[in-house]
Amino acid sequence: MGDNKLLALDNIDLSINEGDFVSIMGSSGSGKSTLMNIIGCLDVPSSGEYHFRDNNVSTLNSNKLAELRNKDIGFVFQNFNLLPRLNAQENVVLPLLYSGKNLKERNQLAIDALESVGLKDRVHHRPNQLSGGQQQRVSIARAIAGSPKLILADEPTGALDSKTGLEIMKILNDLNAKGITIVLVTHEDDIANYGSRIIKMKDGKILEDRKNVNN
């Protein structure tokens, strides 16, 4: 405040390649959420540039950002963030509504996505009729329905027991194997360990950026 400007991110120089599985670690206040928002095109940096594929995101307006998020980025949240009134299929269809796909196509894409996360028989269930793990799988289905290039997972296992968490990580791993870039934010070492690259952050700076040989 005042003269003491707080920098959420400071002097970040980072590039992520297509097909990477990057885990970002850090305590709260480390700037990992802000970095994630910028990578996910939810926010633009106050100074500096961010390029996503062929776009200089720093210069885009809110409509263009929305379009990018819609077409190329899928989000998986800690608390699933499903719309409670909509059933699984309708939740998955949501991003396809905004991209203007026709009814038949988007329903098919939604069912395919749900099938690929093993929820073919839960298509018409509403979030409150599903377990936490199932809800997270619906949200993964929502993230992949529009065939994005990048999936951003913000503590995807944070609200799940460890067994279910592992199932979710396996799904993300499989998606990465199919060529989708994954950026994962977590504070758990064994979850971060799924990444092929681990970035540790502190006070808005990158503390450590290393290849993960265990993977």
């Binding site: 928002n37 939810l42 929305a66 379009e67 998020r69 963030n81 991003p95």
Partner: protein, 408 residues
């Protein structure tokens, strides 16, 4: 995002809060039903006035004799018929604004024909009576000059008399007995229908001279008549002529300007004006109710939509994160408030129709359902929804996706 998708999403969220949605639209319900009732009362009155003109003719004054009291002493029943044919001629002569005058004598009596018996009002008059009273002939003809001059026993009857004496058979050339005097039916009048106080079709019309000689010689001796219908050349002259007739009649009957007249002038326009005026007052009242409740209803919608936007902040963030543009969010909330107001509009229309039915059944007050009023109600309620829904919708659309996602 297509409009049907928007509507689908909107109804999902409205249905999850169905009671709230209906309560929110209460103001619109009252407003719209008032609008519909108001318009119906207005057009009902207009139609009634048109029908009255259709029935009684326009621009007519009716002058009737009335028992007068002279210096505090009632002149008694015999003095009732103070109008004469001389008065009629004098009026015609003195007042150029008068186009025609139809004199009238009348009695209520038994009509016998075809073995049937019927009590009807018999009128003795001239051919002007048909034009002035807007009577049309279903069958047959009016009187010939010769019949009027010689006092022929010919009669023209109304639909009610026909029905009771001849059922559906043609009465033309049949003989009816009025007070035992045989008359030949030469015409049948078109039906006019009833008013609240009289069946206009329950009538038999004979030449004035015939009536005076054979039916009412005692009741209307000499050139006395019961009443006359004065037709004025134009409606602008109606009220002035009413005053002039009063002046001339007072002069003829030697009654001072502030004395009690022995006649009364009825002006239908006066009655119609009063009718229109009372429905106008009613309409203004309803318009006020409608206006206030539409505004209050609109504010109610705005209020609930603001609550909804706050409640669903996180959801808005989710939609934005999966690619909703500002415009998508704006439209979704606009459509939601539009739907609330349209639901209110629909219920209001139903309620308004109920009120219209109830009032016209109960009070026998003529109300006419105007389809324009339904269209108008839709326009009203949807514009309320859009106008008052815009601010909350814009607020939703301008949310920052990160803040919205973080909102708990």
């Amino acid at each position: 995002m297509s409009i049907t998708d928007l509507i689908y999403l909107s109804q999902k969220s409205l249905r999850s809060n169905i009671l709230r949605s209906i309560l929110t639209s209460l103001g619109i319900i009252i407003g719209v039903s008032s609008v519909i009732t108001m318009i119906s009362i207005g057009s009902g009155a207009r139609i009634e006035v048109e029908q009255q003109i259709e029935r009684f003719g326009s621009n007519n004054l009716i002058v009737r004799s009335q028992s007068s009291s002279n210096r505090g002493v009632s002149m008694g029943a015999n003095s009732v018929n103070t109008l004469t044919l001389k008065d009629m001629e004098a009026l015609k002569e003195e007042l150029p604004a008068i186009k025609a005058i139809a004199p009238r004598v009348s009695l209520s009596t038994q009509i016998v024909a075809n073995g049937n018996n019927w009590l009807a009002t018999v009128t003795g008059t001239t051919n002007d009576y048909f034009d002035l009273g807007n009577w049309k002939f279903e069958n047959g003809r009016s009187f010939e000059e010769e019949e009027l001059a010689s006092g022929s026993r010919v009669a023209i009857i109304g639909k009610t008399v026909q029905k009771n004496l001849f059922d559906t058979d043609s009465p033309i050339d049949e003989v009816i007995r009025i007070n035992k005097v045989p008359f030949t039916v030469i015409g049948l009048l078109d039906a006019k229908g009833g008013t609240a106080w009289a069946d206009l079709d329950d009538t038999v019309i004979v030449p004035l001279k015939t009536a005076k000689q054979r039916l009412v010689a005692k009741k209307f001796p000499g050139d006395q008549i019961r009443s006359m219908t004065i037709n004025v050349r134009s409606s602008d002259l109606l009220f002035k002529t009413e005053k002039d007739v009063d002046t001339v009649m007072r002069k003829l009957h030697k009654i001072s300007a502030n004395g009690n007249p022995d006649f009364v002038i009825r002006n239908y326009a006066q009655f119609l004006n009063a009718r229109q005026e009372s429905s106008r007052v009613m309409s203004i009242l309803l318009a006020t109710v409608a206006g206030i409740s539409l505004i209050v209803g609109g504010i109610g919608i705005m209020n609930i939509m603001l609550v909804t936007v706050t409640e669903r902040t996180k959801e808005i963030g989710v939609c934005m994160s999966v690619g909703a543009k500002k415009r998508d969010i704006l439209l979704q909330f606009l459509i939601e408030s539009l739907m609330i107001s349209l639901i209110g509009g629909l219920i209001g229309i139903a309620l308004g129709l109920g009120v219209i039915f109830g009032v016209s059944e109960y009070f026998k007050w003529k109300m006419s359902l105007d389809y324009m009023s339904i269209v108008l109600s839709f326009v009203f309620s949807s514009s309320i929804g859009i106008i008052f829904g815009f601010y909350p919708a814009r607020k939703a659309a301008n949310l920052n996706p990160i803040d919205a996602l973080r909102y708990e």
